[in-house]
């Protein structure tokens, strides 16, 4: 049977999905990992980037420091974290083996799009709009909450959407340190010459990435809509 046929078989067999360590288990683990890592990155990146954007300075440093994250291979970072005394390969609740190390590596990986987009979004609010806000006598905080943030939101959200899909697809590397996620099935499939399992699981990751992208795009559209409206 062709590899395509074997892969189809694998994906259409119920036991590939249910059961201990099967696709559904691994998908849930990877979603949990992705959402948590993204959440951590949001908490770190957004307040800082939005604030710097509001001040209009320091952004150069913030954007470039976080962009270093793009240059460092996430797996190299993960390998270093796992080898170090802390966080090391310890189990971390539902995140499994090397959970904390994986969360940190993925969280750092999510920073660049979040920081860059959030900072740029606030900076790019048109100068005449800001002048108008100042002319109306708004305080700094009022200007940020009522003018800058609403206008910046679409671009901020597209950064979040980018980070979400990137982190989801990259989370498979957790398998290389015997961590959670669909990557475990991909690695084990290829290691055992069961290419159908490796390819099948990789396809599942790709399809879920598309679904996440579509869901995030819809969410973005819903949030964006009120901006044009008058209250």
């Amino acid at each position: 049977m062709t590899l395509f046929g074997l892969t189809w078989d694998y994906l259409t067999t119920a036991s590939s999905w249910t059961g201990d360590g099967a696709l559904l288990d691994r998908l849930v683990e990877q979603l949990l990992l992705t959402v948590t890592a993204l959440g951590l990155a949001l908490v770190v990146a957004l307040p800082l980037a939005l604030w710097l954007g509001h001040l209009g300075r320091g952004g150069f440093v913030a954007v470039n420091v976080s962009n270093m994250g793009r240059a460092i291979p996430t797996f190299a970072l993960l390998a270093v974290l796992v080898t170090a005394d802390w966080p090391g390969p310890a189990y971390f609740g539902p995140y499994g083996r090397a959970g904390l190390a994986t969360l940190i590596a993925l969280g750092l990986f999510a920073l660049p799009p979040l920081v860059t987009n959030a900072y740029t979004a606030v900076r790019e609010v048109p100068a005449d709009v800001l002048e108008a806000a100042d002319g109306m006598g708004m305080s700094g905080a009022q200007r940020f909450w009522r003018v800058e943030l609403p206008l910046a939101l679409p671009l901020v959200l597209s950064g979040v959407r980018l980070a979400l899909v990137q982190v989801w697809a990259t989370a498979t590397i957790a398998a290389l340190v015997a961590g959670p996620g669909v990557g475990a099935i991909i690695v084990s499939g290829f290691a055992r010459n069961h290419y159908s399992e490796g390819i099948g699981a990789a396809l599942v990751v790709a399809v879920v990435a598309l679904l996440l992208e579509i869901a995030a795009a819809s969410a973005q559209r819903i949030v964006r809509a009120p901006v044009g409206r008058r209250p």
Binding site: M1, L6, F75, A76, A79, V82, T83, P89, R97, A175, L176, V177, A178, A184, V187, S188, F190, A191, R192, N193, H194, Y195, S196, G198
Partner: protein, 313 residues
């Protein structure tokens, strides 16, 4: 063996995928020179790139060079990457009996084909003979040296629990740090569960990888996977457990030669057989440690060993 995985190799898993996908590419394009007469001309060696294979391949290269051949060596990540061109543009492969046999078997009969190898060397050779004939490969003499999976514990664990062989672990719950392909294998997870009756939880950390050693030394795993030729265990305070129920297939070293190439160049047979006879687990383990621990080059170690033993001039 297909089990070799280091942390670095794990990093290259994406690359493995790529290599496998590209296994149709030419490893060596210059096979036109292979029809030279005996005792000279070009010869292409291919093997896997882990240290042990690189060392044995360097020995082959040195011997063939000594015979007057122009040797080209290709080291790749996986067996399947060179097997598609052997025989053909690849002429000689330093192989392992069971590893080659099982790969030929799955290539010919599908990925779920039952393994044809066993711990019995002669039975394994007999079972793989038709596959070798089909493919046009001739095996020369097998060596006493056999690179098999082996399982280690810390010296302290062995002393405290009186464990010296795998059957001492029967009935216990054990965490095993091993290569990802351990799952379901008769010489790994399945064998340890079914033959030895050990309740195994697998951590896919790699074959003799730094992560695997660390996991056992830290006590996260009790058992770790390495090979019978691992010369680094002593220094790390680790000891091998005896495979007293024989779950390891006969992974004896053996030269696999293209049958056509051998017919044209019969002079390669005697020196390679002499090399196989000169190697055993202890000798080869020491030599490998010179490469993996002392970081000497495989070529230097190979040359010195061959000269000391009168295998080359």
């Amino acid at each position: 063996m297909t089990l070799r995985r280091s942390l670095l190799a794990a990093a290259l898993t994406g690359g493995l995928l790529f290599t496998a996908a590209c296994s149709g590419d030419d490893l060596a394009k210059d096979d036109d020179a292979n029809d030279d007469s005996s005792g000279g001309g070009k010869v292409t060696l291919a093997s896997q790139s882990f240290d042990e294979a690189a060392l044995v391949t360097a020995m082959y290269a040195e011997i063939l060079d000594d015979l007057g051949y122009d040797v080209e060596t290709k080291l790749v990540d996986t067996r399947s990457a060179y097997l598609s061109e052997f025989p053909g543009s690849v002429d000689i492969v330093p192989e392992y009996v069971a590893g080659l046999g099982d790969q030929l078997n799955t290539d010919a009969n599908g990925e779920d084909a039952a393994p044809i190898s066993s711990s019995d060397l002669d039975a394994t050779l007999e079972a793989m003979q038709p596959l070798l004939d089909d493919k046009g490969i001739t095996l020369l003499d097998t060596s006493g040296a056999a690179s098999q999976n082996a399982y280690f514990v810390t010296q302290a664990y062995s002393d405290d629990n009186g464990v010296t062989k795998l059957s001492d672990l029967e009935g216990q719950s054990i965490t095993l740090a091993a290569a990802p392909d351990c799952t379901g294998r008769d010489d790994c997870e399945a064998g340890l569960i079914d033959v030895y009756g050990i309740d195994i939880t697998l951590l896919p950390l790699g074959y003799a990888s730094p992560q695997t050693y660390q996991s056992v030394i830290d006590g996260e795993s009790q058992l770790g996977q390495t090979g019978t030729l691992d010369g680094t265990l002593d220094d790390q305070g680790l000891v091998l457990l005896e495979d007293d129920r024989g779950i390891q297939p006969a992974q004896n070293l053996v030269p696999a030669v293209s049958s056509d190439f051998l017919a044209d160049h019969p002079d390669v047979e005697a020196p390679l057989n002499a090399l196989m006879a000169a190697l055993d687990n202890a000798t080869l383990g020491e030599l490998i440690a010179q490469v993996t621990v002392d970081r000497e080059s495989p070529e230097d170690v190979a040359e010195k060993f061959l000269e000391d033993n009168g295998l080359v001039d």
